[in-house]
Each structure stands twice: as structure tokens, then as C-alpha cells.
């Protein structure tokens, strides 16, 4: 029965990561979640350094043999979260890069177009250059 707990936690964790991947991009709430996650990570890390037996106690509580095993599971989940957030950020960055490159292309095209419109005028009114 105890084994169920860690299985439940891990499965829910993995599904959450999957849903997070498919969710439309959220801006600031996304950043806030990352920061909360980091804060929790730091607190848990300090706690487990100061009270190593605490980790084993928690592990036993949710059906994992040793604290080290629990650490490994947590690491796997954290890695999945990392992969998911990195992928999303990569997509967002590429999106911006595309828009930037398109603006450059269109701006250059507009310059060329206006140049080709004005060129005939230069031919007819050469005295413009004399001013």
C-alpha cells in the first residue's frame, strides 16, 4: 500500500510536466512558478543537509526504501521539468528570432523598393545632385 504513494506522486509529476508542455505559453506566471520551484528546492536541500535522517523518514513515509532513492526520483522529475521548460523557452526564443529576421527582411525590401521607385527621378532631374 505504501508503494502506491511514490508511484502516485511520480505518475502525477510526469503527467504534470507533460501537460505543462502542451499548455499555451504563459508569461509571468511561468516565471513565478520557476522561482517558487527554485525556492522550494533550496529549502529542501538545506533541510536534507542539516537533517539527513529527515529524507529517510520522508522516503519511508511514502514507500521508498532509502532517502537516496527518493533523491534519485526527485532528480528525475526535476530533470523532466528542466527539459520541458527549456524546450518551451527555446520555442519562444525561436519565435522572437523569426519575427526579428522577418522585420529585417521586410525593412530591407522596403528600402530597395523605394530606391527603385526613386531611381527614375534621379535620371530625369540630375540637377538635384548639383544643389
Amino acid at each position: 500500500m505504501n508503494v502506491m504513494w511514490i508511484q502516485l506522486l511520480l505518475v502525477v509529476g510526469v503527467i504534470t510536466v507533460g501537460l505543462f508542455l502542451a499548455r499555451p505559453t504563459g508569461g509571468d506566471s511561468h516565471l513565478a512558478l520557476r522561482r517558487l520551484f527554485m525556492a522550494a528546492f533550496v529549502i529542501v536541500a538545506i533541510l536534507s543537509i542539516l537533517f539527513p535522517q529527515w529524507l529517510s523518514w520522508l522516503a519511508n513515509l511514502i514507500g521508498v526504501g532509502r532517502g537516496a532513492d527518493l533523491l534519485l526520483y526527485a532528480l528525475v522529475l526535476a530533470f523532466l521539468v528542466f527539459v520541458a521548460t527549456t524546450y518551451r523557452r527555446n520555442v519562444a526564443t525561436n519565435r522572437k528570432l523569426t519575427l526579428l529576421a522577418r522585420q529585417i527582411t521586410l525593412a530591407q525590401a522596403a528600402t530597395e523598393d523605394s530606391a527603385s521607385i526613386h531611381r527614375p527621378h534621379e535620371g530625369t532631374s540630375n540637377d538635384d545632385a548639383a544643389h
Binding site: A22, L97, T98, R102, T105, L106
Partner: protein
Amino acid sequence: MDPGTVGKLIAFCNNGQMQVPAPEPATDPRRHAADTWVVIPLYNEISVIARVVGELAAYFDHIVCIDDGSADGSAASAEAAGARVLRHPINLGQGAALQTGFEYVVGRNEADYIVTFDADGQHRVEDALEMLDLAKSQDLAIVFGSRFLDDRTDPGWLKRVMLKTVVWVTNLTTGLRLTDAHNGLRVIRADAARAIHLEQDRMAHATEIVLKLGRTKLPWREYPVELLYTDYSRAKGQSVLNSVNILVDLLVR
């Protein structure tokens, strides 16, 4: 309108997917030259692009190539053949190139229709002209080319399975019922082009374009076209593995 044409139109309307479109063959080869802009995404096609642009130039006044960071001089070749060439500073992908082309053409406000055309020479210009005839005669906003409405095109069984899978996913996600999703030959009216913004930079844009054009609720049809599979276009075409990329791009955003 003579009875023959009416009969064809009725057959067409009843059919929906239509097999016998054949608008009356207009004689003037340059009948679409003034109001239509051809948009060609261009990436490393030096060996064929000059011929493709040259062929199109016989029928169209406005040909825009979006050079997507080619490294082989395709851009200069297209320019020499008479195309207006826009240059992406870096390679972004075919979908991004199409969107750049749409924004350029729509921004100039001179085009009534946009034709998207592949740079590798696998489309027939005659098909594009007939699709424009159809769009204008029936007031359609979008005409998709389809290679599966008749049996002129034989892509080979593996590619057929792959393309049919992508069509199936496309129909599933878009709610339209197409027979061919990844066909680069399309006619898009200016108002439809103005209404869509492609965000899929890579090949998944072909499904995205169907999805977004479908959402505009503007009238559309498919039109049977032939794809000229040469050894060159076969070698350049999408690999089967790439369809995995397309599916992932569509499902994971």
C-alpha cells in the same frame, strides 16, 4: 454561360471535392499577370530556380522569391531570372518564408490573389492558372492543390502512406476535409492572406495554413494538380522521418 459549363458547375457543386472542375479555358496566358503575385520560398535550389522563375514569368508580372538563407547563390539566380528576391538574414524554414512573402505582398496592397509555388519545379504553371480561373469564377478565397484527386501523380507507396497520415492528422485538427495537405501549390485571396499569421516555421506550416485558413470561414475548394516528381525533387523532398518532426511540431507547442 453555355449549358455545358452549367452542367460542369452543377457536377462540381454536388461533388464538393470535385473531379471535373475545368473552368472554360481562357485563352490569354497572361490573364492573371496583373493582379496575382507568386510567392516562392527559396532555399538552395540553384539548379532549378532560374527555370522555375523563367516559366512563371511568361504568365505572371509579379514573382516574389523569399530566399531563406541559401548558401548556393539561388537568390542571385532567381533575381537574374526576373524575380523580386527578399532575403532572410538566416535560415528560418519554409513556413517562415511563406509568412514573410504574405506580409510583403499584402503590405504592398497591389495583389488580389497570391499563388504559393514550390521552388523545386514540381508544380505545373498551368495548374496554377486553372486554380486562379476557378478562384475568380467562383469567388473562392482559397484553392488548395491536391495530387490525390486524380491518378496522374504517383508518389510511391511509402510517400503516399506518409502523406495520407499527415492529411488524416490535418483533417483531425482542422475540421476541414482535404485529400492532400502538404502540397505547396495554393491560391490565396488577399483578404485570406491578410487574416492568417503562420507561426510554424518549419514544415508543419502546411497543416497550420489549412487550420488558419479554415478558421477564416472563407470559401475554399481543392483542385486536382499534377506533381512532377523528378529525381531531383524526389531527392529534395521531405524524408519519411521528417513527418515525425511535423507531427511533433503540431502536437507539442
